[in-house]
Symmetry: C2
Subunit: 674 residues, 2 copies
């Protein structure tokens, strides 16, 4: 039972999807992305930790739309999808009618053919036109005569008429028409917000761009109106309040008697007007300085006051705007500073036309690029001077091959082997999936490597670009206790890659403790030689863990003597699949605060890779067992910094991996190519 949200990638749409998801609704999004970015949806998933099915469908493509209705049990539609720039609409009116009216008619026909007759429609106060032309119509009630003054408004009114005619033709239809006043602000998380393309038309997005230096100054169109400060009065509503209005309308429709339909309009506004200067001061205060502005002449068509009468929504829907203009300004500034260019991030790109699990994210600097997939938050490529440095598959589907030796994958909850899959916490024993002989390997059957990681949130910082992925591993998956929220950050700078792990039990987790050891399982090769035999290695330590014939630690540490691995040696025919020790007595659960230690240096033909970590040990594996599509044995070597192998099975090591509610697990690795 899902709610279809059209235009769910847009400003108001994405905020509404967040509220729907947080209130237990399943959501399906269709959006043609002409004026929005899939990034907003990936960020919503990141925020709500739920997968949100998305279809890149234009509503006018009724065949494609119909397939979405075939695939999901849709019980209602919230319809945002539309072109929405008033100024643009006066220049290309046909496109507005075609998209907005044509798209809606197509949507309604598909709804009808699937017997879905509940719709919440995103209308606009623009349908009133200049309400000041009548007596006593400020604040504007829903009964105010309509008279849009631009093509955009005409399309909204036409759609209202269509919905009304449709209800008149069949009283089973339920249409809630929501007339928005002036939406402002952003989600307090700073993850989603308005991302206007080109020059913003609205006051606050413009001011925000002035604040970050993208625009010189604000133009105030007239300060000689009859208001307390001479500037015109509008009704600004926080986008989160607006989003909640949609849930209220949807609930209202759902509460009708089964045989009843409805066509009804509701204003969504605060009922309280603010002048341009009121908003200007509130935002300047949020920014912490007075922003430049200039008073210029009045703008044609502007009037003194367009404030909503919001009592109908307040009383009938039980909904009321609660957030202040000041709060909206704070949230907008938070969004703006975190995303000064909206969803666009320099150096960052996604493979064209891919959505959801099919995406591969690439951060590219001049001679260094890193690519990561949502599937397993897998490192799928590193290119140095145009040459690949890790083993990978061209096709993401091949990562599901049984022969895939965990290429590039994020490994969790427990990297490496767990004897008989067993571990105990506070005397309570748990069993993970037995997927390697009698033991559990790399988290069991459905380890992190096979999971869909939400995100990424891509952001540019002083050190480079960070791609932040998140995955919520549910209590019981692979036998592990507790809901574990894991964040994997890929921090790509022009010269190096850093991977950072953070994991903690959620406050809602039923279990109070779990076990965690996370790493990345890339196979490196410095040249295009068939194998790594010519590679010269140097390790930080010769101390390593003794293992039995099942590769399970005995609990003893030994020294590697032939050769002395702390001195450079050429690999030749030597094989490694051992855990070397960096710190014999680790104490930190979150190692990220420790200094990075260079644990391995590899070189060949003038190419060099140095690997650093904050972890107490690392598995060094020369890939002798590799035999998969495109790659044979010793095609690459793996270095897996992590907690001691099988730590959960040994009393003296267990603290390395046990994470209790309120505690934070952390680790960090760095890869430097030269």
């Amino acid at each position: 039972m899902s709610i279809l949200v059209t235009g769910g990638a847009g400003y108001i749409g994405s905020h509404t999807v967040v509220e729907l998801s947080l209130h237990g609704y399943s959501v399906v999004i269709v959006d043609n992305l002409v004026n929005s970015s899939y990034d907003s949806i990936s960020r919503v998933e990141y925020l709500v930790k739920k997968k949100i099915p998305f279809f890149n469908v234009d509503l006018r493509d009724s065949e494609a739309l119909s397939k979405v209705f075939d695939q999901y049990k849709i019980t209602g539609v919230i319809h945002f999808a539309a072109l929405k720039a008033v100024g643009e609409s006066t220049k290309i009116p046909l496109d507005y009618y075609e998209n907005n009216v044509g798209g809606t008619v197509s949507l309604l026909k598909v709804m009808k053919s699937h017997d879905v007759k509940t719709i919440v429609f995103s209308s606009s106060a623009t349908v009133y036109g200049d309400a000041t032309r009548f007596e006593n119509m400020i604040p504007i009630p829903e009964e105010c005569p309509l008279g849009p003054t631009n093509p955009y408004g005409n399309t909204k009114l036409t759609i209202e008429n269509i919905l009304h005619d449709l209800y008149s033709s069949d009283h089973h239809w339920r249409a809630a028409v929501l007339r928005y006043f002036n939406p402002i602000g952003a989600h307090p998380s700073g993850l989603i917000g308005e991302d206007p393309l080109g020059i913003p038309n609205n006051l606050l997005p413009y001011l925000a761009q002035v604040a970050v230096g993208r625009r010189e100054k604000l133009s105030v169109f007239g300060d000689d109106y009859d208001s307390h400060d001479g500037t015109p009065i509008r009704d600004y509503i926080h986008v989160v309040d607006l989003a909640k209005g949609h849930l209220a309308a949807l609930a209202y429709l759902h509460k009708l008697n089964p045989d009843d339909g409805l066509y009804r309009e509701w204003n969504l506004g605060t009922g309280k007007g603010s002048t341009v200067f009121d908003v200007y001061h509130a935002f300047s205060k949020a920014v912490g300085r007075d922003l430049p502005y200039e008073v210029v002449g009045r703008r044609a068509g502007d009037v003194l006051n367009l404030t909503a009468k919001a009592t109908r929504a307040n009383t009938e829907l039980g909904w009321k705007a609660e957030l202040s203009v000041e709060q909206a300004c704070k949230d907008l500034w938070n969004w703006t500073t975190k995303n000064p260019f909206g969803f666009h991030v320099d150096h960052y790109s996604v493979n064209d036309g891919a959505f959801g699990e099919d995406r591969i994210h690439t951060v590219k600097f001049d001679d260094f690029s890193v690519s990561v997939a949502n599937h397993g938050a897998t490192l799928v490529d590193i290119q140095v001077d145009g040459a690949p440095k890790v083993c990978n598959f061209k096709d993401l589907k091949d990562y599901n091959l049984p022969s895939n030796p965990y290429f590039g994958a994020t490994i969790g909850r427990i990297a490496n082997r767990l004897p008989k899959g067993r571990f105990s916490i506070d005397g309570k024993e748990f069993v993970s999936g037995i997927n390697d002989g009698r033991n559990s390997l790399h988290g069991g059957f459905h380890g992190f490597n096979s999971q869909y990681f939400f995100g990424p949130v891509a952001r540019k910082g002083p050190e480079g670009v960070t791609l932040s992925f998140v995955y919520l591993d549910k209590d019981g998956n692979n036998g592990y206790p507790g809901d574990l929220l894991t964040t994997v950050n890929y921090i790509i700078s022009p010269k190096s890659l850093e991977i950072e792990y953070q994991a903690e039990l959620t406050p809602e987790s039923s279990a109070d403790a779990t076990a965690v050891s996370l790493t990345n399982h890339s196979y490196f090769h410095l040249t295009d030689e068939e194998n790594i035999n010519n590679t010269e290695f140097k390790l930080v330590s010769s101390r390593f863990m003794e293992v039995d014939k099942e590769a399970i630690p005995t609990g003893k540490l030994k020294n590697w003597t032939d050769p002395d691995v702390t001195k450079p040696f050429v690999l030749s025919g030597r094989s490694f699949d051992h855990c070397f020790i960096v710190d014999e007595h680790p104490t930190k659960l979150d190692t990220r605060s420790l200094p990075l230690v260079k644990v391995l240096e590899a070189s060949n033909g003038g190419k060099k890779l140095s690997i650093y970590t904050t972890e107490p040990s690392f598995q060094f594996y020369t890939g002798d067992g590799v035999n998969t599509k495109g790659y044979g044995e010793r095609a690459g070597f793996a270095v897996e910094p992590c907690r001691f192998i099988s730590a959960g099975a040994f009393d003296e090591w267990r603290n390395q991996v046990v994470v209790r509610k309120g505690e934070v697990y952390g680790g960090k690795n760095r890869y430097v190519f030269s």
Copy 2:
């Protein structure tokens, strides 16, 4: 330079196409025929004697529409295409918005992409809604506030808004919005008129169906209004006046300064109101008897008076409705009696999906059917008891094969041979195309057999179904003088076929005389035997024309002696390609008034064909030279009743074929199978 008419097959569209054609415009029609018939277009062609390119295109199919604009130089569009039933629109509003608004947006986008920015739009007085809700708005001026009360009206108003927004976005657009009041009547020719499917919604079409017995009686909704007879007042306008309003609007747009655009609305009404009873009496008078009616209660939404203020159109467009309600009633009754079931005629059908020259028209009775193509008004099939009786091609294109021996074709202007292609009238000599050795055969290179005949007008009469085709052979074609208008009627009864010819010079013809001899060139076979050798023949006369070795008459008549062809004889190896004489001294130019003479009887295996004619002679040809796709020598025999062969070249026979302005050439043949 063409005018594109969308919905040109409809009621108002087809009448406008007639006026456009008669006023020298080239017209291209697109229509999806969902609510209309191609028959109206073929009748318009029949009426105006011009080919009108037609495309069965839905406006929403912008790709197909675009191809029409690619193919023709369109200078303006008159846009009728729309669903138009108010009642239906309240039941299926989405279809109305999709068709009317969606179709228009698609049209306008294609126009824009082809830089065609002139449009006359078929709007409706429905956009005013109930104009009596305001003071002083009857008669209704264009400034009256708008407020449609049904989805149909909403779509019209939405399109007006789109056109207005489009003009505002680009002042090169020229949009004339014509708001129709109540169109009534039909073309005075009786060839086209309103053909409402289902129960008519409007007063006069309903009354017409009452008059022909398709409906029991008229319901008059209320006679207690404040009018002279208590029934409501509307503004009824003759459809021909309405059609002319479109030409006036188009001319107005064309007269604007080259750089000027326009958006403007004009009422098209008479400015004079008539009550329901006024119209009832006028139509009863046209019919000649009082039609049954019953006064019932008022209908919801009806108001007293909705009469147009027409002064804007009168003064600005220089257009004024000139025809009375009485005239409209006469014309409607003429249309109704000639076409009691609109364009539908029992027993008549057209090959599915074919338009223009590709059509084949079939009249089918139980065991007898005849099929005729527009191409050459060619008799393409006769079926008796399911067995074919004439040689033909399955594919119309094959009629253009050089080897086609004139299968089934209409032959003209001069059937058979003309020595050296020469003939003289009043001492003036003309030369036709030399297409047979040194002579002209069957009219020359572009004879009637290869021409597109307009029509047919199909009508059911007491004797059967008549298919009437017309062709205007222009002065100079094949060397013949004068514009010759030829009508070919196929009259199919349950047992026989009659073909009737009529030809005359048009009043506008530059030449005062020409020469004509028309026939049909079917090849008959009574059985499915390989050749006609077993067929038994009997001719009306043994008198025949002597010919030289080029098959040109010597001027002498002789008697055929072996065998005696006036007695039954089996053909066996005998060959005929000779002209037998029915009347040695014919005097009539229009022979149709003469009695039909049975000139030949053929029989084989119990099947018999008798051929009758009013013509003075007939060529009898046993098909010895036939060698074409699917047929070899003697596959069939031809009997071609016509004037004496080469009559134009012989002083003593010339009068048989010379047609002077004001004279009518005529002939008639009958084919009876038993």
